[in-house]
Symmetry: C2
Subunit: 179 residues, 2 copies
């Protein structure tokens, strides 16, 4: 079992720094060629399950345009140039929710789409979080309501369809497995 060879690469859509997409000419291990295998690249992001000392998870309720609805999600944000994923998620957490923690653990980093790539999602778990006050800097377009729920209630919200995004569902379930 071997990787594919990339013979050529072409950009068809470029909207820096947000999205790039195009096609690659690839050669499979058995010698077959695919002339136009699509690729998509969006910005990598980091997301965190942030738990208070009494076992409550920090959640955000907001409208998100991807799922086209108001739903619960975990604090998350794009990894800026020059930032590590864990720096990005600490910054976004403080800006969006006012919470902070000194007890961070990496739950995993995963490619969002198996065929096209899209981006890497970096998932974290933070414990012993406390409210320290929001820091300025968020330029989010969405109005965000911050709330906390016991982890079991957050998982029940996932099961009821109240969490719209795959990354939030993944991180909550992986945190439940890890805790």
């Amino acid at each position: 079992m071997r990787p594919w060879k990339i013979l050529a690469r072409r950009v068809l859509l470029s909207r820096p720094p947000w999205v790039e997409a195009g096609v690659e000419q690839v050669e499979l291990p058995d010698g077959r060629r695919v002339d136009e295998f699509l690729w998509i690249k969006t910005r990598d992001f980091a997301i965190a399950v942030v738990v208070t000392p009494d076992g409550r998870v920090v959640l955000e309720r907001s409208y998100k345009h991807g799922p086209r609805r108001i739903a619960l999600a975990l604090p998350a944000g794009y990894v800026d140039d020059g930032e590590t994923p864990d720096q990005a998620v600490r910054r976004e957490l403080r800006e969006e929710t006012g919470y902070t923690s000194d007890d961070w653990r990496h739950l995993g980093s995963f490619t969002v789409d198996g065929n096209y790539g899209v981006c890497t999602a970096h998932l974290f778990l933070a414990r012993n979080a406390r409210f320290a006050g929001k820091s300025p800097g968020s330029d989010d377009l969405e109005e965000i309501e911050v709330l906390t729920l016991p982890l079991d209630d957050a998982l029940a919200a996932v099961a009821r369809g109240e969490v719209a995004q795959l990354s939030s569902a993944a991180a909550l379930a992986l945190a439940a497995v890890a805790l």
Copy 2:
């Protein structure tokens, strides 16, 4: 808290049936307008945690071009026109692995990207799976090695970084929470 209004929509990249992308002009609830908010649409897919009577999960090891590496993943496939997600995942399971089950449960359906949409991932859990022989029909480009692991070992593989894709990690962890 209200949804955004879509005032106009433009296609910038169209590669049917695989990928479409473009921009929308949107109006936020506070009256602000964003002239070019990106959207991406790939095909929706279904993915399943398939468990044998002795508690082993059906996994696939293959090269995937999105993450650019050989890794473990769950059986999954695009939802074809005229199919429901659970029909798609049953078909793909049989084609890719030869396993079948009559005991299906929906773990949730989630939008892959909070901002751009991308696609919906439909996650399932199947129990009492048995090997019935592969059915013809798979047109996958990748060579696939099928294996089974106890659920705890599959979760340990996620923690060790041996599962590359967010959808597989999400479904495995959600299945562990559900079981």
